[in-house]
């Protein structure tokens, strides 16, 4: 069970809305299709859980709120409003914080953007996925390109901060194809873009089809070239990668996502959400995971006020390893001073000095101005490099 902690710390708040109109064939997120959702019951449960977290962690300060999914743009705006209200009253200090909502670009949802704004949402992230109709079809999406464009227009008229997602490295995608598609995206002058290479996740419909040879994906060489192209194009468009797949105009980075990558605390509310919360031991954290199946989560919250199913204490060493895994995803890398301040030991205690030496010499990692980073040639090899770097 989670242990109550009166520690005062910043914490990013994640709210998971687990429902979608249709399950996309590539998606392994905790998303479920239901004919009917009892909106009132869900709102009650979410608020209930928030109250229970408040009792356990009364002194946190919410640094961002993120409504993710599933499809949170299917959530009744009243629910969104109630949640924001509750979080602010528990953990707010009156400052404006980033409040993001993930949205699917259908006309119905775009029609509600204004209501979300009134509820307190100030940033929207739209799952455009592609600017090509045939690709949207392949990805099993319910929208087409023109609907996506409309949704984007509506969003930009309403919100100051709009981001959208694209999935690339799709079957048969050439460098030239992607170059044109990405240019079109950049021409819309977004302040934030998430550009993900298509990955085949275990247990998805694509996994099944891919293993049967129904389609092929770019090989590693080509995928690497697509990644490089993406980074070059976004950089020259003034939207450099600040994380492996995330690009923003300077200052427009998502605060919520930065919290994950910088190793801050975060709280997960709703089915399948995970979190890292303060522990009374310095440098350690309490990891928690929620029940994934929506109905089971709801039943658990109705009964006990919390839908948690897993707890684990993460000792300072493990937490430092996590911070390294996440921190190296950031372009700026790991702030060595901040690291030392948080964990009480220097990052280098966790690294194999021989490998650090070798990988610096081969130009895959660098250390400059108090930051430990991957170089452009190191970025595509993050997993491999982590394996070598960790002592």
């Amino acid at each position: 069970m989670l242990t109550a902690s009166h520690i005062s710390a910043k914490c990013a708040i994640y709210i998971h809305w687990p429902f979608c109109l249709k399950k996309c064939p590539y998606c392994d997120f905790n998303s479920h299709v239901r004919d009917h959702v009892d909106a009132a019951a869900w709102q009650r449960a979410m608020l209930d859980e928030i109250d229970h977290f408040k009792a356990l962690f009364p002194n946190l300060q919410a640094s961002s709120i993120f409504f993710g999914g599933g499809t949170p743009s299917l959530m009744p705006p009243e629910t969104t409003a109630a949640i924001i209200e509750q979080v602010s009253s528990h953990w707010g200090n009156g400052d404006d914080i980033e409040i993001t909502l993930e949205a699917n670009p259908s006309s119905v949802e775009a029609g509600r953007f204004q209501n979300y704004k009134q509820a307190g949402v100030n940033r929207i992230s739209i799952g455009v996925q592609s600017l090509r109709d045939d690709a949207l079809k392949f990805l099993g999406r319910l929208h087409n390109v023109s609907e996506a464009m409309t949704a984007l227009d509506v969003a930009r008229n309403i919100f100051d901060h709009v981001s959208f997602d694209l999935i690339y490295a799709r079957p048969n995608m050439t460098l030239a194809n992607w170059k044109t598609e990405l240019s079109e995206a950049l021409a819309m002058n977004p302040s934030h873009l998430s550009l993900y290479q298509l990955t085949i996740e275990e247990g998805t419909a694509f996994d099944h089809q891919f293993r049967r040879g129904r389609f092929t994906l770019p090989d590693e060489e080509h995928a690497a070239a697509l990644l490089t192209l993406t980074r070059e194009m976004t950089l020259s468009a003034g939207l450099p990668a600040y994380e492996i797949s995330n690009h923003a105009k300077p200052g427009a980075e998502s605060q919520h996502n930065l919290a994950y990558w910088q190793g801050d605390f975060y709280m997960g509310i709703g089915p399948g959400a995970h979190g890292r919360l303060p522990s009374n031991t310095q440098g350690a954290a309490q990891a928690h995971g929620q029940i994934s199946r929506p109905e089971n989560w709801l039943a658990a919250v109705n009964k006990k006020g919390l839908g948690l199913e897993s707890f684990e204490t993460i000792d300072p060493k493990d937490r430092a390893v996590e911070a390294l895994m996440m921190g190296l995803r950031l372009t700026k890398g790991i702030d060595l001073k901040a690291f030392q301040a948080r964990f009480g030991v220097a990052l280098h205690n966790f690294l194999d000095p021989v490998e650090v030496e070798k990988l610096s010499a081969s130009g895959h990692i660098a250390q400059e101005n108090g930051f430990f980073t991957l170089t452009p040639s190191g970025v595509p090899l993050l997993n491999y490099l982590l394996g070598r770097l960790l002592a």
Binding site: S245, V379, P380
Partner: protein, 600 residues
């Protein structure tokens, strides 16, 4: 003390799985050696590994008390022998301690390769033989056909052959009667000076070194000072006992009897199997002929996967050797593998068993280098050296010629697989000596180079015959051969653990397979890695492992981090077991996997 005319010392010889251990269990049970409760299957196979693999590794004995139909009480000493060719040597020494054998043949299978090999050994030892057709409970049993086969192929009279089922117990009484009626009693002189054969010895955690003896003449008893004639050492006897199969102390063992002694003996290696034990004060006139000590024929290096385990490996090998004097080891070091041991084994099964015991009993993960036989290298200068390790191969310009060991192999195989088996033997440089038929099965005699058999011959034989072929062999001679040292180079660095001597005609094919294997086994690096097989400076096969280009995951949120961390930890553990060859890391299990030469 039992009158010698009421003693029978006998062995059971059989092809593997024909029911030797089951029959032994049944005989023990029938004569009341163990209560129903103590009876666990295959009581004589005492090591876990023996029970699991269903093979007997060490010789075992048991004393049975039997009241025959004629009303007389008999003492029957049953010596169970190992069934695998690697341990043929132990079979022969057991046989020399008995006067007769039960030849067990599975009535549904008929004569197999080891049936022949073992029965010939029994005949060589002058044994009287009782034929037992086992498994007659099986619907497929054809005792009459199998009897004819035994007469045709081995030339044994099957007039008095007994049909039984070791499983159901049918015919067990007949087997015991036949032992008493048809096998001879020992004929030593109980009043002559002590003359006993040292049959086997092993280390027991409670009793120390135990020596299995067969008394030929005279008496051995507690307190007596005995002399080991070949070793020239003297010891005072602490205990005398027999196995029932539990160890039971007795006052003495006299002419014709089998049992164990313990004495002030420190190590198993202080006892020579086949040595003659006599009374120190009143020695016998003439020693027994003795045995040639068993010689390891297959060598390989064993290195701990985790270099920190080296002292543990040393201690574990020493412990295993306490009980198995037939394998050798000496320290070896390799640039990439670190410290380890060069070990000699009686054969591939023996090697596998030791490796498995190290893992199972001592929790040691190992890197095994390519197995090698002993080559005789004749130098230009006229001297000869025995090469146990391909990496010690002298410069070719100093070598005049090389000889390699050959074997005589006997293979029995159903007709339908004959073509495939012939091809296998030809591929392995075999020379056909004979092809006859045993019923519907072909019996092949082939001369084969041992080094071809060491690799994967047995596995391949089993797989191409769907398990129906049986195989046995004996070492015969050394012969001149066009052997070359094949090196494997990874990123230009020779991998010593994988270098091997091969026949020139086989080098390219084997090199290709090895390179292909390694390509799948070596993790990719930041640069591309050429993998080559070479003879001297000449590359005969090549593969290229492409450089790693991208492995970063596109999306990573809070949720999946725990799983990723676990993956990374696994990766980290694996790293400890990697070996560096130049700039390339090779995981420890790649060595074993690469050397399993099984195609497909």
């Amino acid at each position: 003390m039992t009158d010698q005319k009421n003693i029978r010392n006998f062995s059971i010889v059989a092809h593997i799985d024909h029911g030797k251990s089951t029959l032994a269990d049944r005989l023990i049970q029938h004569t009341g050696g163990l209560s129903e409760r103590d009876m666990q299957e295959q009581v004589l196979d005492s090591m876990d590994i023996e029970r699991e693999r269903g093979i007997t590794i060490k010789a075992q004995t048991v004393r049975l008390k039997y009241t025959a139909n004629n009303g007389e009480n008999y003492v029957l000493n049953l010596m169970d022998t190992p069934g695998h060719v690697d341990f043929a040597y132990e079979v022969s020494r057991c046989l020399s301690a008995c006067e007769g054998s039960l030849l067990v043949v599975d009535a549904s299978q008929g004569v197999e390769a080891q049936t022949l090999a073992n029965v010939y050994q029994a005949i060589e030892n002058d044994h009287d033989i009782v034929t037992v057709l086992n498994k007659i409970d099986l619907p497929a049993a054809e005792p009459e056909r199998v009897k004819r086969q035994i007469e045709d192929v081995i030339g044994l009279d099957t007039e008095g052959a007994i049909e039984c089922s070791a499983k159901s117990g049918v015919g067990i009484e007949d087997v015991l009667e036949a032992v008493v009626q048809h096998l001879p009693a020992p004929t030593g002189d109980p009043s002559a000076p002590l003359k006993a054969m040292l049959v086997d010895s092993w280390y027991d955690a409670y009793l120390g070194v135990m020596v299995l003896v067969r008394v030929i003449d005279g008496v051995v008893k507690k307190g007596q000072t005995v002399q080991m004639m070949a070793a020239g050492t003297e010891h005072q006897i602490d205990r005398v006992g027999v196995f029932t199969p539990k160890g039971v102390m007795v006052n003495q063992l006299s002419a014709g009897e089998v049992g164990f002694i313990t004495a002030s003996i420190k190590e198993v290696s202080d006892t020579n199997v086949g040595d003659t034990i006599t009374d120190a004060k009143k020695p016998c006139a003439e020693a027994l002929p003795g045995f040639k000590p068993s010689q390891p024929v297959v060598f390989c290096g064993l290195f701990p996967a985790d270099a920190d385990d080296y002292p543990k490996l040393r201690d574990s090998l020493a412990k295993l050797r306490l009980n198995d004097a037939s394998f050798e080891f000496e320290a070896e070091s390799s640039a990439a593998l670190g410290f380890g041991y060069r070990c000699g084994f009686l054969g591939m099964l023996h090697l596998e068993i030791i490796q498995e015991r190290l893992w199972r009993e001592f929790d040691l993960e190992l890197i095994t280098t390519s197995p090698s036989v002993i080559y005789k290298i004749h130098m230009v200068k006229g001297d000869m050296l025995e090469l146990h390790n391909p990496s010690d191969m002298p410069d070719v310009v100093r070598i005049d010629y090389i000889e390699e060991p050959w074997i005589n192999a006997t293979i029995l195989v159903p007709d339908e697989f004959l073509g495939a088996v012939l091809k296998l033997c030809e591929d392995k440089r075999g020379i056909q000596e004979n092809l006859t038929y045993v019923g519907t099965r072909a019996m092949l005699n082939y001369r084969l180079p041992l080094n071809e058999v060491v690799y994967d011959f047995y596995d391949r034989l089993k797989s191409i015959s769907r398990g129906y072929a049986s195989f046995d062999y004996e070492m015969t001679n050394y012969d001149r051969s066009d052997l070359v040292k094949m090196s494997i180079l990874v990123n230009g660095e020779p991998v010593d653990a994988l270098s091997m001597l091969v026949h020139r005609s086989q080098a390219e094919a084997r090199g290709r397979v090895l390179c292909e294997r390694l390509k799948d086994l070596i993790p990719r690096a930041l640069f591309k890695i050429p993998i080559q097989a070479a003879i001297g400076g000449k590359v005969i096969a090549r593969e290229t492992l492409s450089a790693m280009r991208k492995d970063v995951t596109a999306k990573c949120y809070g949720g999946d981090i725990t799983r990723k961390k676990k993956l990374l930890e696994k990766q980290k553990k694996g790293k400890k077991k990697m070996r560096m060859y130049g700039k390339v890391e090779i995981p420890h299990d790649a060595f074993i996997a690469a050397l399993k030469m099984r195609e497909n």
